[in-house]
């Protein structure tokens, strides 16, 4: 009796702790939401009130008008979809090559790819990369925003790790049935790996949507920049004068990844875990 009471009390305390932590962690996003609905006159009311008196949607319209946010978000979407597709498809190809084939130079090629695993080239080699874009005449185009990111060591590595967990007997059986290596990949390996591939694709989408330094450098017009760069533009345009508009813009830029995250949270967690646990 006493033991069960103690257990209930413990559960209640833990629940309270969890609620408190969730609130604290989500508070910045929540406060951004209430600020984004305040009229300019309410923004600097002191002491600050959490809930707005109004439901001032105009801030969102202003954010879209003052920096062309709609176009910037469209650019981000195009960039992210192309990068995600490229990384996923090419990652499946190269991962498959390393996991299911023995060929000359395999370990050397694998090592050559491996060294680049922790090299954020688009950041630490940004000067020569930018010069390449100039010589290709790619500055301020979708080419510059997407092509350098179409394949990566990370995705290759993850796909390889995953394909290695799939029993070799399947491949032998497929061979006996006369299925070629391409058919085996698309009709057996890929369908069996759907959720892992999905998870990795989600991670790549968020990565692409959140890119910052590279789009900042390779785009120079407010029709080719991306949503993340829009936040900097918005802060400059609005200076410190109107947090309502800046927060409206911030939430718009955050919305796609946040909604995606909540919609397919299981896939995400799976993706994040596969990216890390390299057995």
């Amino acid at each position: 009796m006493k033991k069960s009471q103690k257990k209930i009390l413990r559960t209640i305390l833990i629940e309270i702790g969890l609620i408190a932590i969730s609130v604290i962690i989500l508070l910045p996003i929540f406060l951004a939401l209430t600020m984004s609905l305040k009229k300019p006159a309410e923004v600097f009311v002191y002491p600050p009130k959490i809930f707005p008196n109004s439901f001032y949607i105009q801030n969102y319209i202003s954010a879209f008008n003052s920096i062309n946010l709609g176009r910037l978000m469209l650019n981000s979407l195009i960039m992210s979809i192309i990068i995600t597709l490229g990384k996923t498809v090419f990652g499946i190809f190269s991962g498959y090559a390393f996991s299911n084939f023995k060929f000359k130079g395999a370990s050397l090629l694998f090592a050559a790819l491996f060294i680049t695993l922790f090299m954020p080239a688009e950041m630490i080699m940004i000067v020569p990369l930018f010069q390449i874009m100039q010589s290709f005449h790619w500055v301020n185009t979708y080419w510059a925003l997407t092509i350098p990111f179409l394949a990566s060591a990370t995705t290759t590595f993850l796909m390889r790790q995953h394909f290695m967990t799939i029993p070799k007997e399947l491949e032998d059986a497929a061979k006996i049935d006369g299925a070629g290596p391409m058919r085996f990949l698309f009709e057996i390996l890929v369908p069996l790996s759907k959720s892992t591939i999905g998870g990795i694709a989600m991670i790549n989408f968020v990565y692409a949507w959140n890119l910052y330094l590279w789009p900042l450098v390779v785009t120079n017009s407010n029709s080719m920049a991306t949503a993340q760069i829009g936040l900097k533009m918005l802060t400059n345009v609005e200076s410190t004068s109107n947090w309502g508009v800046i927060m409206a813009g911030t939430l718009m830029v955050l919305a796609p990844t946040l909604i995606l995250f909540f919609a397919v949270q299981k896939l995400f967690v799976r993706g994040i875990i596969t990216t890390g646990l390299k057995e």
Binding site: F44, P48, F90, Y212, L231, M247, V269
Partner: protein
């Protein structure tokens, strides 16, 4: 014959991208780091280690290396400690735990730039709630983003918050892989909660912690660029200018290609050592598990 070349065909797209956009620029970086642009920007002069020499004797570069070190160490240590604590709390069988997990992971979806604007707002003097809370609690209202060392602390807070989701997911996965029987045996032997934490949980989490340290260090050193650019643009007086921020400024604001390339070479070398250490010690740690 076609069977023999098949795996190479599969590798072509990935290697094309990696060679053109990682290997070739890496080679160019090393080359450019030994050259200096003429005053009119039309010719390159060989200067040997001249760029490196100028870097190491310039106070600004040393300062930005020092800023990076402090920023990375404090952010990673504080961030991982908080995340481990939250993960321990989330690793409970209580009703509704799934919802809490989803909510607490949410900052994973937040970009470094969004984290920057959110915290710039919360810390802003009049409209910001954190500023107001500070005034109520400590009777002080500091200018967070324009005073040293508060500006750096503000960026640390934004970065730690942004990384919480990612870190907690990993710690939780690690906690759940520890067999329950270890704890039961320890409890029978009379170990209390804190000694179970120190003697079982923390050692068994070490492979994951190691991985998280690597990811957090690279994230804090590089991706936090966006947070810095949105919140302080390296100021006040360069006190939030990290190595990557300085590289960006030298390359694209001051147009000093030789300088920027020398900085890139240093970062490439640091990352190469880092990768080597990761696979030397990280793999081992994972095998022990």
């Amino acid at each position: 014959m076609s069977k023999k070349i098949f795996p190479y065909l599969l590798l072509i797209p990935t290697f094309l991208i990696v060679v053109i956009f990682i290997y070739y620029p890496a080679f160019q970086t090393f080359k450019l780091s030994f050259y200096k642009m003429s005053p009119f920007g039309n010719r390159l002069f060989f200067t040997g280690f001249g760029n490196f020499w100028s870097l190491f004797t310039s106070g600004q570069y040393i300062q930005s290396a020092y800023t990076t070190l402090i920023f990375v160490v404090v952010t990673v240590v504080a961030g991982l400690t908080i995340s481990l604590f939250l993960a321990l709390l989330l690793n409970q069988k209580v009703p509704g735990i799934g919802i809490f997990r989803t909510l607490i992971f949410a900052p994973y979806a937040v970009s470094p730039a969004v984290a920057g604007t959110l915290w710039a707002f919360l810390l802003s003097p009049v409209a910001g709630y954190v500023s107001y809370l500070f005034l109520v609690l400590f009777k002080a209202q500091p200018q967070w983003l324009t005073t040293y060392p508060l500006a750096l602390i503000a960026i640390m807070i934004a970065t730690i918050w942004k990384n919480l989701g990612f870190n907690i997911i990993f710690f939780l996965a690690g906690l759940q892989s520890i067999p329950q029987s270890y704890y039961e045996a320890a409890t029978i032997d009379g170990a209390n909660a804190s000694s179970r934490l120190i003697k079982i949980t923390i050692p068994l989490l070490s492979p994951i912690t190691f991985y998280l340290i690597v990811m957090n260090v690279t994230f804090t050193a590089f991706s936090a660029f966006a947070t810095i650019d949105v919140m302080t643009q390296g100021g006040p007086a360069n006190t939030t200018s990290t190595l990557i921020y300085k590289l960006y400024q030298d390359g694209f604001v001051n147009f000093n290609t030789g300088f920027a390339s020398a900085e890139s070479v240093i970062l490439i070398l640091i990352m190469a050592v880092f990768t080597y250490l990761y696979f030397k010690f990280g793999q081992k740690a994972v095998f022990y598990q």
